[in-house]
Symmetry: C2
Amino acid sequence: MSNRTKTYMLITLGEELLLGLTRNGHLTYIGNQLRQRGITLHSNYTISDDNQDIDQQFAFCWERSDVLITTGGLGPTVDDRTKEAIADALGESLVFDESILESMEERFRQIGKPMSDNNRKQAYRPQSAIALENPNGTAPGLWLEKSGKILIMLPGPPNELQPMFENQVVPRLEKLGLIDQGESYLQIRSIGIGESALETKLQPLFDQHEQLAVAYCAHQGQVDCRISFPDSTGREKRLHQIGEECRRLLGADFLGYGHDSLPEIVLNSLKYHNVSLALAESFTGGQIANAITDIPGASSVFNGSIVCYSDEVKINVLGVPKEIIRKNTAVSEPVAEAMALGAAKRLNSDYAISATGYAGPNRGTEETPLGTVFLGLHSAGGTEVHRYRWKIGRLGIKRRALYTALDLLRRKLVGNK
Amino acid sequence: MSNRTKTYMLITLGEELLLGLTRNGHLTYIGNQLRQRGITLHSNYTISDDNQDIDQQFAFCWERSDVLITTGGLGPTVDDRTKEAIADALGESLVFDESILESMEERFRQIGKPMSDNNRKQAYRPQSAIALENPNGTAPGLWLEKSGKILIMLPGPPNELQPMFENQVVPRLEKLGLIDQGESYLQIRSIGIGESALETKLQPLFDQHEQLAVAYCAHQGQVDCRISFPDSTGREKRLHQIGEECRRLLGADFLGYGHDSLPEIVLNSLKYHNVSLALAESFTGGQIANAITDIPGASSVFNGSIVCYSDEVKINVLGVPKEIIRKNTAVSEPVAEAMALGAAKRLNSDYAISATGYAGPNRGTEETPLGTVFLGLHSAGGTEVHRYRWKIGRLGIKRRALYTALDLLRRKLVGNK
């Protein structure tokens, strides 16, 4: 329980985040890591690293947090001077650490590159800090305990930050009893039902349970609903019972418990039924295959995708009859059907999904205007084609097709039981 | 110049961001939109929407900003109560707006769904605010001018927020003279050279120019370097001259000026040389094709990709000789070579890239352990294969292969001139 009352804050440094040049992946990663260990990150502050805001923001957060994490600003270039600013704010002086220098020299020897002079400044640390080793880069992280609070400074590159967090920060926080295992809420994922329709459906059930906290979160055609009791001890069973009632109310719109993504759920379902999948992707351009192959172990059920960005490839590789394209254009129901069938045959698979559509800049025709999408689904029972129209821009259309196609397959597999 | 002194702040609301369940895409989008119009977003605050932090954070930002943007918290569910908190903080009362209700009712008629009672609360607005229409959702945005400051409240879903920002917020800010066109700095993108090596190479040149501001930003094997003068008037030409010197110093590591991504640069280069591209993707699983087809107009040079997640597909669709796989395993130089050749032939293309490797969980063999990657590049001059080993996890390996493969092709095309 005591962890609940500890305040974790995150400062992410970098003008590139504010300029929209880089996504703030550190927030997603660290928020997720803490959540898995029972902590809700209190807040995240993204500021530039080239002005006095570091001092101000750091002082603000240091006063209000128990654990303060910073990312970025430890690099070797002239504009990375976080350490100086933070040492000032803490009343610490920077000391040159020979052992940091040695690790860095060792690292440069390993990768066979000369060390620049400007790397030397990475060997300075605030006097009370200890260095966190960085096997994937030159800048060490820093860990500082002062006035009953903890400051954790992490390097900016994700491939340096992430192993450092999991291998060095998490064990230290565990030792101090500042994080725990497991989660204390239940998440119910739904798909194909809007946020307010979901609330209308579930809220009367939730209202029967005193003290039950409920939060909704909509994303990509899905709505997640998290439920929890303020004191989780011994309530897991009741949460699960409530979850099961939600599942019954939602029917096929129930996606799953927890944090499994739609691609994970579809892959697990394919494995459960011991069937294989192939794709024929025109305008989705490999996005569906990419989402599936992000999941470890996909190869046991996923055979591949024919990304057919020209009519020629549809005809020669997928075996779509030239005549069908000539008569109907490539964005049509008959072509989606032939693509799905072709993928199933050529890739020798039980199920196949096809996608053809106008995502732009091609504005389509009068009958099939920009935003028109055909998704085909081939199974032992035959091939069905669904038509959609979305006015959400090229990338929006690609992305919605990905989730819609996977959900079509999921619903087919659920009905298949 | 006066815009430069205006402070823009962004508050992104939502526990799902702090829990790492959703990426903070609003920061990337809004930061990018403002940057393109000469504004650097000062800071971004991500806080939860279910506690008193809204009041505190809002008051903090309202005091320090000229333009304050908030996202999220306008939805119909019980946990969305941003408007109440902000109206309180501004000393405004919430009024029920019949015309908002009418637009919402019209919207529900259009999509043919009944309006829930809980949608009604979306029709309330602070008394001095005007509604920003939301053709893609139910919650209107809000625009409020008070005490010489501007508050802009936007809905959370990206497909609602983005058109609202571009069609309604930007024109209003332009009218008030708060944003301008074009950028006033020069960005130089490099690839294949580390951050400190880049600084060592370029900094002596930069040091010759008084008042020149320099910022480095590393991401995905690339390092961007932004240079600017404090007063941009009439300095564009000098910035460009400095850029040209950087280009000469960097040679083939010079990627381009501005914000074009590596996939865009490669596509433009293919178009410039009027040549076509095909892919054969094993462990990258369609990621390279997906990145290419994210770019509008890709179809003029990109024919497609064979995502071959099984040996069978490599053999049957790409025509890789069975014997080569049996003798060398699927992760080998000869197979990468045969895949690239097969893709070029089957998809009738001038260039072809192939990718085969062990990204995990398959740990590979003693000779080709986990993390080993072969990238093939076929061109008129023949087929070359490059071998790598990366210890950066499944998704890291997929992503690095994407950028490495595109850069191999880019360098080949540059040499082709």
